[in-house]
Amino acid sequence: MSDKKTLFIDNLEVEFTDEKTVLEVIRNNGFNVPTFCDRPDLTQFGACRMCIVEQEGRGIQASCTMLPRAGIKIHLNSAKVRKIRKTILELLLANHKRECLTCEKSGNCELQKYAAEYGITDIRFPKLEEKNYLETDTSSPSLVRDPSKCILCGACVRACTEFQGHSVLGFVNRGSNTQVQPMNGRKLSEVDCVYCGQCQAVCPTGAISIKSDIEKVWSEINNPEKKVVVQVAPSVRVALGEEFNLEPGENTIGKIYSAARKLGFDLVFDTNFSADLTITEEAAEFVQRFMNKKNLPLFTSCCPAWVRYVETQHPELINHLSSCKSPQGMMSAVLRGFLGKYYPEYNKNNTVIVSVMPCTAKKYEITREQMAGETDYVLTTQEFAKMIKNAGIEFKQLKDEKADSPFGLYSGAGTIFGASGGVAEAAIRTAYNIITGEELSNVNITELRGVGANSRTKDTVIDIKGTKVKVRVVSTLKEAEKSIKELKEGKADFGMLEVMACPGGCVNGGGQPVSCLNSLIKAKRAAGLYKEDEDLPLRKSHQNPDILKLYTECLGGKFGSEQAHHLLHTEYTNKFVNSYKDI
């Protein structure tokens, strides 16, 4: 327990203990100051200078990089502080492509928010002229970069470097010509971007936004010829509510089904179902590899950013990747294959498959040639929320509904896919059964849980009737790189490696409602998933009766069957490009 000390914020004495910055002390005591560049999970940057405070005796200081000291007296809104903040806002706005009404981030933009709060009605500097706008990069399937809206807070650069170790984005040029760019001024699609979208998640403005598919989905819904089917990913249920003033972690899946039907989707399924299916296939695959001592450790393949990372950066390791499609891919493959069997009016030509995902990389995943023609559109949680708002649906007041059958029933194992560690935990529950024929008594593998910055690599050893298997769970690609290094050096002692590119897993995905300002949000979302797991009567994928029914009726009766392989598994290709060859 650290000692309590006190300092003064606007003449009010407040306590602090081990906060690293004055900004943290400010926030922990019910105050706040504006900031663009401070992001709790990223390193301190001190660039935007919006969080300045006035310290008695020492003048203006940036609170985000100021050490709290006992007895200091700071003022959050002195005349000088307000003057500087307003001038900074004016300076940023002068150089900003001010097309707020037509901006993807409108309503969600921090620059817009502070400009309104500070009453910036007149900008005394010349407006950025249209002829000086920089080119918008729409080349990526997931993200749109509009550099003229960039305020150079560096959050994206840090996210790419500190989460993914990837540095796809970096600063170039000096002075007022400074820009954030992918290497050598290329487009996002021309570099090894994995489309995780964390850059977008931390971007305070519309400089990086999600490539919207909203209008395309609306036009499919509005087309009477088409039958539009939707699936909803595990972590969406514990985050979407935030867009409607519900608490992070509150499970709104019943309302989501209802909202989807109100929006005009014809059938509503749950990706948790195909998460269970992923487990039965992946566990079977793992057991087979484990018995044959082949291609171990098995890499999970649910995360498209991770898959792309292996294909582009470590193609020699693609045989470690599980050949299972992701839950999104499996659901769409099953729907394409068997929906007509249960709903005869749905056929190849009239069925449109939409998925609601916490993830921007999922938009990329559906463009993979191995999965082409399965999923038609991916909407991120953010886009789905926009559609609900747009349709005038009072989300909070919706009555809970159920998903459609037979692809709607799921176990707790499926739901925890949304948190880092969930896939491995679910796989262990089933693999144990496949190997031993018995049921794992304690299904809570708590060593693999946790989504904080200190839980990015988690290990556990499972005792399967005397045979010990080490399972590793990693989130962020920067952290994954360490395990890859161990593997390449022959030091890897783990049999399974679960990797999610986003810190904390899908609950903190790049398509989720903005959560970068509070590092506790993702933990609350994860807690929501583990709670649903606890509450469900079924907690193991292989016990899901609809899964068993699907195997019996369509997939040759057993996990890992030839039919299952044909439909639910995929292949990977070497995507390594020598990025430096033309420099």
């Binding site: 660039a47 002068a94 007022s176």
Partner: protein, 619 residues
């Protein structure tokens, strides 16, 4: 305290080196610094060699050796040739003069025409010691510059190099070294003026593991070249200063961050490091002691901001050179997150002499709060431009009029820009102010790295402010908003003013932005970026107003505000102006007075330059 026995006897080494130098006979020193090389110093040296210096035996069996030296400082008069034993300095020497000099040395005669002419006395100076430029200086950091061959470690050792290091290694008392530096009152020579001893102590307090010593040689201010001179002309002094610092704070590895635009400094530092390592004066177990210290050279890539300490560290680490927040001091976590001492070149160069002569010796020079000497690069409209080193209490008047020999061409003094883009402009009223850290800060300027640009009445102060703002804007790292965006808007306003498009409220806006940048920026460079504008607004506001309200540039510099006119009574209609006008703006028939079409005129001045009758004037 017990003395450590070393296996290198530096006194003996010094004696041997001095012996070698005696063998050279009469020394002809030719300044071979960057400036003099550009003026043909290398050809002069070759010519001397061809004539037989180095090898020839003179009458009375004396040898003569030509020694390429570092900068002697009097750059205005280059190429300089000095014959120390005769106290002679020849100025503006060219290759054609060499034979005459060579022969005159044999006959002990003096070549009058190559002697320096004192502009005040209008008299040729025979004895070096009577040259005002040197007489008023106290050269300590620059003591050996221009007097030794910087590429020979023997010459450095003969002049006393590594004696101070030997002393501290024998005494083996790091705290004693720190105490000595603290007592000397030495302050950082890189700009900020932080107490050097205090800095060393805070790094010392974090000793125990890996620590680093870094020398900041990223001298980027326009017109400043003091640090280059030390690195090029007396590299061993810098290496010795760094080694003493490393010994004191407990570091075993060092970096010298040199801008890539200083290739000669890089070459000579590399040579000096190699030679010192060969003699066990650097490297493992220096002079047989327990102390090891290796030095690496890190070349910069041309970013001004890399002279800022945290950006410099980022650059050494391989990151983009952008300043980092300084809530964690580099004394605790600096380079590679290890305790780090970072000082400027000149600061380190002062260390060996403080150790040898004692803190009292250093402490006696200067003012109450600023001790010792300071080097300045004296440039601009003075007669004697060059590199000078003066005690801290020297006044601006002494520098401009005594050392500098007054303003060129009898013009009137207007201002001195001191401290480069971070500094400010001082006026006539500051001429009698001593050059002292705190005094300068008080009047809105700063010592900075020591660039001193003297300006005469023909200088437009608004244009000077625009020049520096343009520099800072282009060299801003782009990280923090006030510096990146604020300097851009300040520059835009200044550009409008010099074009005659300014408004009176622009002046308030310049001051407001200046304050925001000063208080809001992340690093020292940002915080000082508005100084050139703010200080000129303070002392030369009238000149800004003249540009805005009267649409006039009092110094006649801002071309957009110039109006060229042909005086009818003087014009003979020779048509020369019309033929030379690139814009076709001059109309008239032959033998009739011509007229300038103001709408077409691009104000290039070609007509005025070419008029044989001085009929064209600017208004």
């Amino acid at each position: 305290m017990e003395m450590i026995k070393l296996n290198v006897d530096i006194k003996e080494e010094q004696r041997k080196a001095q012996e070698k130098i005696k063998q050279q006979g009469r020394r002809i020193l030719v300044c071979a610094s960057t400036g003099c090389i550009a003026n043909g110093a290398l050809e002069i040296i070759e010519k001397f060699k061809k004539l037989g210096a180095d090898v020839s035996v003179l009458n009375n069996a004396e040898k003569m050796s030509v020694i390429p030296t570092g900068c002697i400082g009097f750059c205005e008069q280059g190429v300089l040739v000095v014959i120390p034993d005769r106290k002679l300095t020849y100025v503006h020497v060219t290759e054609a003069d060499v034979e005459e000099i060579y022969n005159s040395l044999k006959t002990d005669t003096i070549i009058e025409r190559l002697l320096y002419v004192d502009p005040a006395l209008n008299k040729r100076i025979v004895n070096n010691e009577e040259m005002n430029f040197y007489a008023k200086q106290t050269r300590t950091a620059l003591k050996n510059c221009g007097h030794i061959n910087p590429e020979s470690i023997d010459e450095a050792i003969a002049a006393g190099a590594y004696s101070a290091l030997s002393k501290v290694l024998q005494e083996n008392n790091p705290e004693g070294v720190i105490k000595e530096i603290e007592d000397s009152g030495l302050r950082g020579r890189g700009g900020g003026g932080f107490a050097t001893g205090k800095k060393w102590r805070s790094v010392y307090q974090h000793r125990g593991g890996k620590s680093y010593v870094i020398c900041n040689g990223d001298e980027g201010d326009p017109g400043a070249f003091m640090d280059r001179s030390v690195m090029e002309d007396d590299p061993n002094k810098l290496l010795e200063g760094m080694a003493i610092a490393a010994f004191a704070v407990g570091a075993d590895e060092g970096y010298i961050y040199v801008r890539a635009e200083y290739p000669l400094a890089i070459k000579r530092l590399k040579m000096a490091i190699k030679a010192a390592e060969e003699r066990n004066l650097l490297g493992k177990n220096i002079m047989g002691s327990e102390f090891s210290f290796t030095i690496h050279i890190k070349e910069g890539a041309g970013a001004f901001v890399c002279g800022e300490s945290s950006a410099l560290i980022a650059s050494i680490e391989g990151e983009r050179g952008m300043p980092r927040p300084k809530n964690i001091h580099m004394a605790e976590k600096g380079l590679f997150k290890r305790p780090t001492l970072l000082n400027n070149v000149e600061t380190f160069a002062n260390v060996p002499l403080i150790i040898l002569n004692g803190s009292q010796w250093f402490n006696k020079m200067g003012t109450e709060t600023s001790k010792g000497t300071k080097t300045f690069a004296l440039t601009g409209e003075v007669n004697n431009t060059g590199l000078i080193e003066v005690p801290m209490n020297t006044t601006l008047r002494e520098i401009v009029y005594d050392l500098g020999g007054g303003i060129r061409n009898g013009k009137k003094f207007k201002a001195v820009q001191i401290g480069g883009p971070s500094g400010g402009c001082l006026t006539e009223e500051h001429l009698d102010m001593p050059m002292d850290y705190d005094q300068l800060t008080k009047v809105g300027a700063m010592v900075g790295s020591g660039g001193l640009v003297v300006m005469n009445e023909d200088t437009c102060i608004v244009e000077v402010a625009r020049f520096f703002m343009n520099f800072t804007q282009h060299e801003s790292c782009g990280k923090c908003t006030p510096c990146r965006e604020g300097t851009k808007q300040m520059l835009a306003i200044l550009e409008r003013i010099v074009k005659g498009q300014g408004k009176m409220e622009d002046l308030d806006m310049l001051e407001e932005l200046g304050r925001v940048i000063k208080e809001g920026s992340l690093c020292g460079l940002g915080k000082s970026a508005p100084n050139p504008v703010l200080s000129t607004l303070r002392y030369f506001r009238d000149e800004y107003i003249a540009h805005i309200r009267d649409k006039k540039c009092p110094a006649g510099v801002c071309s957009a505000l110039k109006r060229y006119e042909i005086q009818e009574d003087k014009c003979k209609g020779c048509t020369k102006c019309a033929r030379n006008c690139p814009a076709g703006a001059i109309e008239g028939t032959i033998k009739e007075p011509h007229k300038i079409n103001q709408e077409k005129c691009i104000k290039c001045g070609a007509c005025m330059e070419n008029c044989p009758f001085n009929a064209i004037v600017t208004k």
